[in-house]
């Protein structure tokens, strides 16, 4: 259908011709993707000559697959969730690694006394799969535990009930989503919301087994052969980074853009999420989006150990030229792409996250 729309836009838009671009997200609309929504709403893409259509993700939607199948021009994906299909033959490449940090936690009730990976031995440990397990497995192995034998890995549902009900001792949770959900739930024992003090978390960034999460991926061959597409890629990255910078500097307005895009969770929850997402990006040690080779290698090693990948994808799996070009353009225009001044906010959660 992209051909059709190209034709129609040519005939109706007149002189100011926008290039239609689609970006496949990896989950439903929420503040995790605030930068892209903001870039659309604030006209950053349009100023660069792009007409960006944001495609919502789903449970079984693999952005890399959609990208490879031609269902989208670019994809927003975790590194491992894109490298798996790539190993199967998807012709894709990472062009910008937006998130620098991992948001995955292993949450348990404080009274369980689980403070590090070693404490997970013999426990019911929740995991969603989908590549999320690699950090956990690597963390367990780092303290000498065998993920298959020494813990009981449980397939987690989409909600935290199994954790609250005690079926799962240590549940997987994203800082920006499920962790907040627990804090939005009434503790049946006290009649009040759960408090951070009730919980203890294992942060994989601290354990040192974190893996790269959200980045932007593109069609590898098209980048090589199609100069126009490469130009579009630079513009997309440039506009997206502007969006993320906007969300860092205009917190409330950015939340407004997300809410306008129609998330299903409420405002308080989106505020919490955006704050946590900003934490994953800012401060950007190397200019936002630039690949940290050490983290890349750590990601690959964890994935291979966890049998998510069978071989090292090699240096062709990501390229930095496009992001660098975008950063250069942005720096020239005076945009702060490092965010060194970023400080997290205090967000108050409400029951149900409304």
């Amino acid at each position: 259908s992209s051909d059709d729309t190209a034709d129609t836009t040519t005939s109706t838009e007149g002189p100011m011709e926008l290039t239609p671009v689609s970006l496949q997200l990896q989950w439903f609309t929420q503040a995790q993707f605030a930068g892209y929504y903001a870039a659309v709403a604030e006209g950053f893409y349009e100023d660069l000559g792009l007409d960006v259509e944001i495609l919502e993700g789903g449970v079984d939607i693999v952005p890399a697959t959609v990208l490879d199948a031609g269902g989208a021009d670019f994809a927003e994906s975790w590194a491992v969730r894109a490298l798996g299909p790539r190993e199967e033959g998807a012709d894709i490449v990472n062009i910008s690694q937006i998130f620098e940090r991992s948001a995955t936690l292993q949450v348990s009730f404080a009274d369980q006394g689980i403070t590090g990976p070693a404490d997970l031995a013999g426990k019911n440990v929740g995991s969603w799969g989908f590549g999320n397990e690699a950090e956990l497995y690597a963390g367990l192995r780092s303290v000498g535990l065998d993920p298959q034998a020494d813990v009981n890995i449980v397939q987690q549902q989409f909600d935290m009930l199994a954790f609250i009900a005690g079926d799962i001792d240590a549940a997987q949770a994203m800082t920006y989503n499920e962790y907040a959900q627990v804090l939005e739930t009434v503790n049946p024992a006290t009649g009040e919301l759960f408090k951070p003090e009730d919980l203890s978390v294992i942060d994989w960034n601290e354990v040192g087994t974190a893996m790269l999460q959200d980045g932007i991926w593109a069609d590898a061959t098209r980048l090589e052969e199609d100069a126009e597409y490469r130009e579009t890629a630079v513009k997309l990255v440039q506009g997206s980074i502007m969006g993320w910078a906007f969300c860092r500097d205009n917190f409330d307005a950015c939340v407004g853009h997300v809410l306008a895009a129609g998330p299903t969770l409420g405002e308080a929850h989106q505020r919490w999420m955006l704050n946590e997402i900003n934490n994953l990006i800012w401060p950007a040690s190397n200019g936002v989006g630039n690949m940290d080779a050490d983290l890349w290698n750590q990601t690959i090693q964890n994935a291979i150990d966890g049998e998510l990948l069978s071989v090292d994808p090699g240096p062709d799996a990501y390229r930095t030229d496009i992001n660098e070009e975008a950063l250069a353009n942005l720096r020239a225009a005076g945009v702060d792409v490092d965010g060194n001044g970023w400080t997290p906010k205090e967000i108050e959660l409400t029951e149900g996250g409304e």
């Binding site: 259908s1 992209s2 439903f28 609309t29 789903g58 449970v59 909600d159 935290m160 299903t264």
Partner: protein, 314 residues
Amino acid sequence: MATRDETARAIARHERKEAVRRGVRRVVVFLAFLVALALLYTGYKAFGESINDAQTEWPVIGRVLPRTNDLTMPPIMDIVTELGQPPQRNSSKPLAAFIAEASLFTFREAAFGFFFGMMLGLALAIIMLRSRWIERGLSPYLVASQTIPLVAIAPIVVIWGSKSMGWLPFDWQPWMSVSIIATYLTFFPVAMNGIKGLQSADPAAMELMRSYAASRRQTLLKLQFPASLPYLFAAFKLAATVSIVGAIVGEISGGVPGGLGRLILDYASRYTTGPSRLYASVMGAAVLGIVVFGMVTVTEYFVMYKRQEGSAAP
């Protein structure tokens, strides 16, 4: 003759009245039964805590009894009040309206899926009717096709839908892919019952058509198809509810927003912060299922009532 017609009409009127009376009685009894079920649910909750202990004590029964607290089994009144309240603070639309809109959306997907599934099923049945060989060769795979879990094909369909439907004169919408997933579930009962129904035409009537030198098409349209209607309606009833299942699974795994599937997934994923919302949307799905079932049943009544079996007038 006139008086006989009159008595016949009087009898018909009486029978219709009887049928209505029976129908009303059925509805009333069933509603009463639903109330009883609601009471049972509430009553069970009241004893819940002690039963929860039994879960570990009683070996088999304990496993079948749900554990209960307000999180796993929200009070019925909570569900009812939740329906009237907006699920999001930044909008005043009550949950009931959300569910109704989502139901309509899912209904559209299911309706298209039902339609195409019906077409595909009939086409397959007609192909199988052509030769016993094809029927024998194909039917095991029709059965096998239904053992392929939807979750495996849903993403493929959604991706292919957006990718390869560009040639169509209209823009391919994600919900259309969901309709295709619904089609996948719907065609099966129609094809299986369709072939049985088409073959059910009285052999004598088939010979009659042959004696008129009727073409295959004429035989199909004038005899075999009408003869298969009772079988087809049985299949349609199954297909109607199954198309809803297909639409919901398709929405969930294909990531298509707007329908009941997404609503259920959303409310499931934040279950702990509002279990009654999930219960309400599941009930929405139930009501939708019952409505489409009812629609087929009513259609069946109007198409078939003329040929209801009845003793020949003596």
